[in-house]
């Protein structure tokens, strides 16, 4: 197990390094950072001064190396736009994105897993069809459109929910649903398929042959095995959701990291964008790593190697 974790960790670090290199080089091509930094009404002299001040005239590899070694110490440099340390800037917004992500994935899991299980127990039943309907809709619904429609219905027409802001948990209801619904179909389908698969397996028949009751069969013998792939998927989805929360954050005016990322791209705020891509990637990497560890713990075939 320890061996497994160490090797898995090594892979994670390698992936993180590669992603960092890609995101760095990718964004370095994103227009002249000095021009962006100087702002809309700056003169050429301003821009040239800034170019030298920030060292944009040095070779890219040097800049990458410097950036990376500082990033490893948690220093992502200073935002061109805010003139604040990027890490401070991000820390602040990340809590919103994380809250949203956790709420979203919880919503997705809490709806998808029970639905998937029930659908698997009663294939072709009404509830199975309903679950299928939900997932098909969810897959085809553009989330920005869904968000807008939610605002129109629940904020404008019914005036039940606030359309934006982060003050109370009520503010998080609509964003959570929009974001969670994005991840729900995949999780539900996997739960259903996994559960169907496990329920048809030999060891479930063994458990039944021992006289175990339906509940015991479902929850002790089946779910434990069916949930293993769902854990991985949920981790992946969580990573995607954080990276994909941009749309939701911009619709509901949540000042999270996703929105910051979008704005920063527009402002050519290189350090912030680089840091955000890296951090979102790190989240993905950490989540999948944790899910692998969790899987290993759930699945003795990996745990006891």
């Amino acid at each position: 197990m320890l061996n497994f974790i160490l090797k898995r960790l090594g892979l994670a670090v390698l992936v993180a390094l590669t992603v960092s290199a890609i995101s760095f080089s990718l964004l370095f091509m994103a227009g002249d950072p000095a021009a962006a930094l100087a702002g809309e009404q700056a003169t050429d002299v301003d821009i040239e001064a800034i170019r030298r001040l920030y060292g944009f005239d040095r070779p890219m590899i040097v800049q990458y190396w410097e950036w990376l070694s500082r990033a490893l110490q948690g220093d992502f440099g200073e935002s061109y736009y805010f003139r604040l340390p990027v890490s401070d800037l991000i820390m602040e917004r990340l809590s919103i994105t994380m809250t949203l992500g956790v709420c979203g994935i919880s919503f997705a899991l809490l709806t998808a897993v029970p639905l998937g299980v029930v659908a698997a127990i009663r294939p072709n039943s009404l509830i199975d069809r309903f679950a299928l309907f939900l997932s098909v809709m969810g897959q085809a619904m553009p989330s920005f459109w869904f968000g807008l429609m939610m605002i129109v219905v629940f904020s404008i027409q019914l005036n039940w929910l606030p359309p934006s802001g982060t003050k109370t948990w009520v503010h998080f209801i609509m964003p959570t649903i929009v974001l969670g619904y994005y991840a729900m179909p995949a999780i539900m389908r996997l739960t259903r398929a996994g559960m169907l698969d496990v329920l048809g397996s030999d060891y479930i028949r063994t458990a039944r042959a021992k006289g175990a009751g339906e509940g015991r069969v479902l929850f002790k013998h089946a779910l434990r095995n069916a949930i293993i792939p769902v854990v991985s998927l949920a981790a992946v989805q969580m990573g995607f959701m954080l990276g994909g929360s941009i749309v939701v954050e911009s619709i509901f005016a949540l000042h999270g990291a996703g929105y910051l990322a979008w704005e920063s791209i527009g402002r050519n705020d290189l350090p912030t964008v680089q840091a955000l891509i890296l951090i979102f990637s790190m989240f993905y990497i950490v989540f999948t790593f944790l899910s692998d560890v969790l899987n290993a713990w759930l699945d003795p075939r990996i745990r006891v190697a």
Binding site: Q41, P162, G165
Partner: protein, 481 residues
Amino acid sequence: GKSDDTLNVAFTKELENVDSYFNSSREGVVMQRAVWDGLVYRDPVTNEYKGNLATSWEWIDDLTLEFKLREGVKFHNGEEFDADDVVYTVNYVADEKNGAKTQRNVNWMKSAEKVDKYTVRISLKKPFPAAIEFLSGPVSMYPNEYYAEAGPTGMGLKPVGTGPYKVTEVEPGKHFVLEKYEGYHDSPKGQPEIGKIDIRTIPDVNTQMAELFSGSLDLIWQVPADQAGKLATMDQFTVANESTMRIGYLTLDAAGRTGEKNPFTDVRVRRAVAHAVNREALVAALLKGKSKVISTACFPSQFGCFQDVASYDYDPEKAKALLAEAGYPDGFETDFYAYRDREYAEAISSFLNAVGIKTNFHMLQYSALRELRMKGGTPVSFQTWGSYSINDASAITSQFFKFGSLDDSRDEEVRDWLDVADSATDPEKRKEYYAKALTKIADQAYWVPMFSYNTNYVFTNEVSYTPTPDEVLRFVDMSWN
């Protein structure tokens, strides 16, 4: 709302830093006018200069201005305002190394020196006729002791000024809370009435309107014309429209920076472009409000903005004829760039398409487009310029026609005339030379000026406010009905 004496306002853009020397957005100007004061104040309606933190001023010579300061003014943190504050502020921002964001606003000042506690002199680098205009605008006074310690970052998070409102809460990106400053001095700005201003950043205009409908916002601004039109039909809101100093224009690559064979090097082609666009229709259908069609390369109210220049009416047939004359009977294909107001740009490009100039539309981020223009120019791009609300033609012409990287015409004659106009101290001489330059710009159709912008302010009927044409929200002028 009125009941809790709190005005809820939305900003579209997130402010990078509340410190007004370290942001460059409109929202920053709004904050600056509420939290800080300048030495001078220009009445937005009469355009008359009045003393604010200074009670009087005089030109000692072309390069020196002397101010008598108002006594008894206190900053929000209790620090007393005197000559030291002015000296510190001016010296700090004028120093290029400190990196004030918009150098143009401050780099005409060389330094400041204290004469006595309430007298101060500001020296200029070279003659700068618009000095008072700038001092009434972007240059505001900071508390020296506090600023020395906090710097721009600290100032951004906990701003301290002498203005009518003090900042009590800053959550970057989320919201600011302003509270009425009870000890506000007897300023020409007037005394604040509304107790508390809560400003939230909401990027999406639909969300802003939704919040407005649900009652959690009291005032939104910069509302697009169509929406404003609809909101105006609703009883519970007031929609006010004011013009702004921002103008939109097409800049054409007359200098051939994108290549010798560029069709826009031919004046007939440039004139054809000018004839091709139905600017009246654009204003009537898209911009609406107080927007106007313009023909000069500046905002009409600006000093020196000579109006009697060649103007090109909408005449697609003539445009086609000119194109044919220039050797393009079937039109040609060109890249068309824009960075904001996609709708307007799209409409313009569509007019060009109609006379045979086939446009490949590119919508870029400002920085990317700027880089492109600095490096090699663009054949044709839709641009806007707001002049920082500075009511002087130099704020626009000298930026674009003096061989800077954004100068697509590179006309030496124009440059020389503008040099004279910019530095002369005699207003009449300035006017004369601006007129010469602007006439040639129009005649050669280096630019195709399009229209001036306007801003829509929408607020609930509880709020009473009359906006001003300089596109600045003045909380101090607001009150409850």
